[in-house]
Each structure stands twice: as C-alpha cells, then as structure tokens.
Amino acid sequence: MIEAYELTKVFDDFLAVDRVSLSIPAGSVLALLGPNGAGKTTTVRMLTCILAPNSGRATVAGYDIIEQPERVRAQVGVLTEQHGLYERMKAVEYLDFFGRVYRLEAAERRRRALNLMERFGLTNALDKRLGEYSKGMKQKLALVRAMLHNPPVLLLDEPTSAMDPHSAKLVRDAIIELQRDERTFLITTHNLTEAQQLADKIAIIRSGRIIASGAFEELARQFVGDPVMELRTAAPFNGLVKDVSDLVTVESSGDDWIRYRTTDPYSINPALLRRVTGLGVDVVTLAPVSQTLEDVYLQVVKEDEGVPANGERGG
C-alpha cells in the first residue's frame, strides 16, 4: 500500500530525510520511531505530497506521489502534527467542510461525522466552537477529520500524544479495528508501548536515516539478543549460579533469582528445572523477562551513536 524508495529531502543545505525506504503492505501498521528532529514528520509530509522529495520515489495506494499527488491525497487520511483547526467553527461545520472537500454526499458526510464523533466520545461537543476544545479533544477531532472519508491509507503523526489513557485506548482500538478492515497505517509516535502494541513493523529513524526496521521480535533478537529467562526460588540459595553453570550462562543474579539467556527454552528450561529441583531448591517461578520496545529502541539508538554521522550533515 505504501512503497517508498530512497526518499530524500534537503531543506536548503540541511539533509532532513536521507534515502528512506519503507514498505507497508495493505492491512498492516508501521510505527515510525525516532528522536525529535529525526525526520518523521518530513517523511509523512512527503508521503502526502505536501513536500516534494529531492530524490527518490514512492507510491501510496498505487499512485505515484510525484505524478499523481491529487489521487494520493484522496486516498490518505492525515493526522498532521499540528492539528490547525479553525477555531471559530463548530465541530459539525468543520467536519462538514472537510466532507465537502472530499466530495462526500451530504447524508454520508453527516452520518460518518456523527459516527466518528460518537466513537471518540465527542458527541456532546458537536456544537462547541473548536477554540473552546481542550488539547486532547482537538486531537481527537483532528483524527475524526483524518478518518472522515474512510481512506484506505492513514498517516497519523503522533495520534495520541495529548490524550488521556482512556482516549488513547479508544484510538488504539479504532486503529486495530480499521486494520482488520484492510486499512494501512503509518504511525509516528514517541509512545513505545503503543507502538509495540499496534505495529506489525517498526522502523527507527535517526538523523534522517532508517537505522533499524522489522517486526518487534526480529529487532529484539537483533539488538538485545535472545530472550532472557528469570528463575525465582522460594528462599535464598547460595551457589546456585555455580551449580547450573554447565547448563546456562547466568547473566545476572540475586539472593533468590538468576537470569540467563537461551536460544532453546524448550530443552533448556525443563532441564534447568529438573536440576534445581534435584538440588532441593523450591522454585516459585520460571518466566521470560519481557523485552520491551524501549530496550530495543534505546539499544538501537545507542549502537547508532557509535556510527559517525554523515559528513554532509550540517545545519
């Protein structure tokens, strides 16, 4: 649905996006992560044909972003980083205006607007002027606007950054539901838990370059290694590390716990349990330590910092 090949954007002399390639199949969600100023918003803007890339190409929903910008824009719903609502308008009028722009029939406009407003809990703010909306309400309304014409592709730049936990959950649920409906998403976010929950694929961008991309599990394996297991015992036990050292390499340990990595939990874990039980130690739990996207992200960025920055970069 979205295919980008070596998109590059230079502002004056500043290389903001450097040969970014992305591939997002229909019905999947890609989370674009990266530090501030990494080039996420600029990438989204290129995919919506608002900024022209200096080089590279991309197609969105089958249309070329350079040759067919109007068609591309008709197929995407965009949540811009700055929501920029018309403060003097009421929500109904605002959505009606955008519905017209997308050439929706009057009845359809109204129906979709009401549905979406209800879905995001904004029904009783329909007649409020947008200037009186709170920050999170504005963001939700902007999201409603992006989804109004039921586009097959949604580009959401930090969709939940200002929302309360409940609203953020509503948004995530909406995304998951739409995804089931074969919608394609590109989401930029600083909320790594959210990215981990939603994304089929994650791309990390830094200084305009994609420095890592893939499914979370792949990235986790690549950057933080094999899954870590933790074994807890009922009482402190001295010398456990030594007693199991022929089975596993213990990474860290405490009085009543050890952690180790394994590529083969199916054979290692039962063997370890037998050994420990055989030693007369009562085991409370043996469980994988969940790797978070945060671990992965921090590791990716740390490793990339070792790489010298591109010589052309300047600002």
Binding site: D12, A52, R73, A74, T80, G84, Y102
Partner: protein, 509 residues
C-alpha cells in the same frame, strides 16, 4: 465495505472537456471560498467596517457632495462641484476594498501562522483550486461592500434632491477600476504573504501595496478633476489607460501568485529568515557548475562549454522576444521620424559634412581616446540598470529600457534617409561595432528578461526561490562570460575603429 467507502472519495479524476474541468475546479475552489467568507463574517473586526462603509459612509459622502456642490456653485464654480460627485463615488468604492488587503493577509498568512493550512494541504484540492478559492474569499466581502456602498451613494444622489445624472461610461470605469484595484491588492497580498510567515511581518510588507495604491488613487482623483474628456461619453481616456495597466499588473501578479502558492513554498519554510549565506553559496555553485549534478568547472573552456552555453540555451526564448521587441523599436523610431512634426532641422541643410557633424552630436560618436572607457561604462550602466529594474518588474523593464536606444537609432536612420544622403556612413557608424555590440545587448537584455520573468513561471520541479537563484546564477554567468568581454570589444571597436570607418564612408578627412 472498503471498496464501497473508497468510491465516495474525491479521486481528483481528470474529467474530459475544458469546460467540465473548469466547473470542477471552480466548485472545489468555492468550497474554500464559502468557508472563508463565512469565517470572515464571523469576525466583527471585519463586519463592523464593512457595515459602516456600505451603509453609513455613502450617506456621509452624499451629504458632503451636496454641501460642496452648493458651496462652490455659490462662487460660480459648478464644474468643480460636478466633478466632486464621481470623485466621491470612487472614494466610496475604494474604502471597502482596502479591507480586502487585510482579509487576504489574514487568509494567506494568518492560516500559515495558525498552522491550519497543513490539513487543507493534505486534501485532494489542487494548488490552483486553493489559490482561486482563497483569492475569491478575500475579494468577495470587500467587493460586496464596495458595490453596495456605491449603489447606496448613487441612489441617494440620483433619487435625492441633487437629481444627479451620471455619465454611464464613467460609472462603468469607476466600477471596473474598483474591481481591478481589489484584485491588485489581493494578488499582491498573496505575493507578500508568501514571503513571510507572520501576520506582523506581512502587515509591514503590505505597505509596498498600500502606498502605490494610495498614490494611484490620488492620480486618479486628479485625472477626474482635470481631464479634458471628463464628460466624454466614452469615459476618460487616462482612466482606461490606468485600467489597462492594472489588468497587466493583475495578470502578472496572478501568475506569480499561482506559482508561489504551492505546497512546497507554503510549508517548505517555517520561519522568517533570510539565509543569505546559503543563498550566496547556491548562486556561486550554480555559476560554476557545468552539469545537472552541480559539478564545478575545472577549466575556462569547460566552463564556457558546459556552463555558459547552457545558460545561453535557457535564455533562448527570451532572446527571441528581445529581438522582436528591438525590431519593433527600430520600426517605431523609423515611423516616428517620418511624421512631419518630428523631423530634425538638419534634414534641410543638404550639406554632407554639416550633416555629419550634426549627426555626430546626436549619435555621440566619440573620437576621443577617453571614449573607450566612456562607451563601455555607458553600455554597462544601461544593461546593469535594466537588469536590476527587470528583477522588480517581472522582466518588463528590460524590454522598455534597452529598446529605447533602438527607437533613437530607427529615428536617426529615417532622418538620414529623408535628407537624401547616402546612408552608408550611418551603417558604418552603427554596424562596425554593432556587429559585436548588438548581439551582446540582445543577450544581456534576454538574460535580464529571463531573470525577471522566471518568478512568474519557475521551471517544473523548482520552487520560486530555487528558480530565481538559478536564474541569477545564469545571469551572472552570462554577464561575466559573454556580456562583459563583448562590451569591452564593442567599446574598443567603437572608440578606435568606428570613427575611421565613418570618415572613410563619408569620403572626407
């Protein structure tokens, strides 16, 4: 479900037929216009002046007109009184359209400032649709107010005790003037607002529009009082000329606006800053480069072959236009010389050597040694001035300033022919160095024209700024590589060789 929903989406399909395409564009533009006009009418800062200027001000003007007519009639100066009435009509019409400037700055820069432009830019609307929609939105409320005000004013005069019988064509002129002036202000505001991202800066820049506009109104007022054809049933000639001039300005501004008003220009910059260093660097790079990748020239030969010739290729169209204008100028000068009232007295003298002396003065054929520097400086100065003025006039100045020389030339030529003298010496005097000088001037003028006009239609894929810096690079390159050496050569010929050739042609000593 997905396909059903997607069907309702505006796919921006290119419909067959120009008319259908136009209707589609307009209906999209009007969606924007409708919203913005409604937004304007929500703003009491816009509503209040509009109401006052439409309904109260005309009565005030009518009252003033009545008083003034009575007053001056008391002194037997009915004429002035008569002419005050259409003058005030113009004023009544002009005041409201000055609001269009405020609205235009608000809709173009204000929206940029509040960041509400980006969602709009992410919709399938085309740049042109947005541009038309917003331009109309800035025009409609002030024009409604302006026309309303004029109607109220005229109604009160025609049906009031004054029983004014206006000259219909003059009314048409005033209404047309008001409309084109509103267009100039709005299209000018678009250009101004593209250069800035804050309304404050835009308001400062707007004085570049409002000051010439005020001067123009003053000129128009003077014309309406003083024009000898003020009562003519075909309207005042000078006002028609102003209308025509304004239409040209509007056309140029619309073109510039349409090329400036695009997504890249609107969002490509977020803060008001003049990055002089990087601009200079870009121009410098463009001057030296010999291919599209920006590779700098390694030798003079390479620079000429890959760089200067490429620049010359780009100004080709401009060069043809320049040649056409020069020929026209020559013809115009010649034609002018044929009319009796423009003939020179020398034509009657008949003496060859006397003619030569006389003409020598007119043609400024210098036989002095210092002539070389003088001629060079003279030519370089005209071309430099033409280039600088061209930058601020979309290239028009280039086509006005330099051809003036050719009008004079054509004129002199016609005088020589009329005098019955063999024109060989004339050719000798002009063509000897002209062989070098004329092409050089054509090229220089073409470069100036190109530089000025490039902003009205940047090459595909370039922003106005990029196109302009590239064109400046081309101009400098042509200036250094072709024009300067050419002028030096031409001046040398003119100072040292031409005089001898002329004397030879005259057969004297």
């Amino acid at each position: 479900m997905a396909s059903a929903a997607v069907k309702t989406v505006n796919t921006g399909t290119i419909r067959p037929g120009v008319w259908a395409q136009f209707r589609w564009t307009m209906s999209n533009a009007l969606i924007i216009t409708r919203r913005e006009v409604r937004d304007s009418f929500r703003d009491w800062r816009i509503i209040a002046p509009i109401v006052i200027l439409t309904f109260l001000f005309p009565f005030l003007a009518q009252f003033v007109a009545g008083q003034f007519v009575n007053y001056v009639t008391g002194f037997g100066a009915e004429l002035i009184g008569e002419r005050t009435i259409p003058f005030l009509l113009m004023v009544v019409g002009f005041f409201p359209i000055s609001i269009s400037l405020v609205i235009a700055l608000e809709t173009f820069v204000g929206e940029k400032e509040r960041r509400s432009l980006e969602p709009l830019l992410s919709t399938p609307l085309t740049n042109t649709e947005l541009y038309i929609g917003k331009t109309l939105a800035a025009m409609i409320p002030p024009l409604v107010s302006s026309f309303g005000g004029m109607a109220v004013y005229m109604g009160s005069l025609v049906f009031g005790e004054l029983g004014w019988r206006p000259q219909p064509m003059l009314i048409v002129q005033i209404v047309t003037l008001t409309t084109v002036q509103a267009l100039v202000m709005v299209t000018g505001a678009v250009v101004v607002s593209s250069q800035t991202t804050s309304t404050r800066a835009a308001n400062l820049l707007a004085s570049f529009i409002i000051i010439p506009m005020t001067l123009l109104i003053q000129g128009e007022s003077a014309i309406m009082f003083l024009a000898p054809d003020a009562e003519s049933s075909t309207g005042i000639g000078a006002l028609w000329a102003i209308i025509l001039g304004m239409v040209v300005v509007v056309t140029l501004l619309l073109r510039v606006g349409n090329s400036i008003f695009n997504r890249e220009e609107l969002l490509g910059r977020t803060i008001d800053q003049l990055n002089l260093k990087s601009a200079v660097r870009r121009i410098w790079r463009h001057m030296r480069m010999v291919d599209a990748t920006g590779r700098p020239a390694r030798s003079l030969v390479e620079w000429y072959r890959g760089g200067v010739f490429a620049s010359l290729g780009r100004v080709k169209t401009a060069a043809w236009i320049t040649i056409a204008v020069f020929l026209l100028a020559l013809a115009a000068g010649f034609a002018l010389g044929q009319t009796p009232e423009w003939r020179l007295t020398l034509v009657a003298t008949g003496s060859l050597s006397e003619t030569a002396t006389n003409l020598g003065q007119y043609m400024n054929i210098s036989t002095q040694l210092g002539g070389f520097r003088f001629i060079l400086w003279q030519n370089a100065r005209i071309l430099l001035a033409a280039t600088l003025l061209a930058m601020f006039s979309f290239g028009v100045a280039a086509l006005v300033l330099t051809p003036a020389v050719y009008v004079v030339l054509g004129y002199l030529f016609s005088q020589v022919l009329l005098s019955g003298v063999n024109p060989t010496f004339m050719f000798a005097g002009v063509l000897t160095h002209g062989i070098v000088e004329i092409p050089v001037i054509v090229i220089a003028t073409a470069a100036a024209l190109y530089l000025g006009a490039v902003v009205t239609k940047p090459p595909k894929g370039m922003t106005v700024g990029q196109a302009w810096t590239a064109a400046l690079g081309d101009t400098i390159r042509i200036g250094i590589g072709v024009v300067l050496p050419g002028l030096v050569l031409a001046a040398a010929i003119e100072a040292y060789i031409t005089p001898r050739v002329v004397l030879l042609a005259l057969g004297g000593g």
